[in-house]
Amino acid sequence: MQFPHYFHLFGWRVHPHIVLELIGYSGGFQIYLHLRRRDVWPRAAVPFEQNLWLIVGCVFGALFGAKALAFVESINLYRDALGDPRSWLGGKTIVGGLLGGWVGVEIVKRIFRIRNSTGDLFVFPLIFGIAVGRIGCFLTGLPDHTYGVHSNLPWAVDFGDGPRHPTQLYEILFLIDWGIVLAVVFRRLKPSNGVLFRLLLLGYLLFRFFVEFIKPRYNPYLGLSAIQLACALGAGVCLVQLIGKGRNKDHGQPTAAAAA
């Protein structure tokens, strides 16, 4: 298999990242609409127009977070290209996107004075979107810089410079497994509003923290990379909030606006 593995659509050679990200975003959005229509998490739903602005806050926060963390993560490489504006456009990280999107949503919620947790509706759309997007990362190969270090394991993949850990595939497998765990948690334990979202982030950020050790990285911060620091910080916030929710059971009283 050659990398990048381009798709050929209607005579055009299309980069796999674009195709898979489009599928990830649109498929995740459809899953979100389906869950809303089925009223699976009534306490996480907010009025229609406010919901649209939540999505705007989410995507802009994700954009800012993804790029900011990508820049800090590889600052040793970007530093030499600061004069080229194109270097400012490239680069993104899922960890930065998740944390930035979360902050973006919280900012919009403050503006509209929405107090109930809204993240649970995003859990399975996020799992789908990230997993599908990672297929694009895998098919891109070396230029994507999301591969692992060299390895002699039987499942190591040669992206063009020798066999490496296919960390993109590890992440897809983790997301599928964690998604199944969260679905079981939701059905059996009926957790309070906001718990499922924080469990998703906690699991994913811990996974990313440890998988980064088998990826080439710039680790000047006490032996850790910027992504690992962000993962540790984000996981810590999630853990604190989960403990807080456990102590003060969230009864999720719907707001008057949410009933409209």
Partner: protein, 112 residues
């Protein structure tokens, strides 16, 4: 005297009835799609003409979409479409421009 918020709509559903139908998300989705198509067309056309992508041409699609989106938000009927246009700015930047590593490359080429 402070104006009162509008009264909540009365819900005549009986127990077990399905929840009321949601407002149509199609206008928002169309806004996002329209924004993505516009961005794709704008930047591929610019690249195909070999345009020097300085700051202003680079931000051209963003400025146009933000302006159009803000204008449409003033109309209650077109507000979801306008919000979709605004959201498409970030979505387009994430999909078309921000490759995982700083590669600013036009990803589509004619293989014929």
């Amino acid at each position: 005297m402070a104006s009162q918020p509008p009264p909540l709509p009365l819900d005549y559903r009986r127990e077990g009835d399905p929840p009321p139908k949601e407002p149509y998300w199609g206008k928002f989705a169309l806004g996002v799609l329209a924004g993505l198509v516009f961005s794709g067309t704008y930047y591929f056309a610019a690249a195909a003409r070999g345009a020097n992508l300085g700051a202003l041409p680079l931000m051209g699609a963003v400025i146009i979409k933000l302006g159009a989106g803000a204008a449409l938000c003033t109309s209650p009927k077109w507000r979801p479409f306008g919000i979709g246009l605004i959201a498409s700015v970030a979505v387009a930047l994430l999909i078309f421009v921000a490759a995982c590593f700083g590669i600013f490359a036009i990803a589509v080429s004619n293989s014929k």
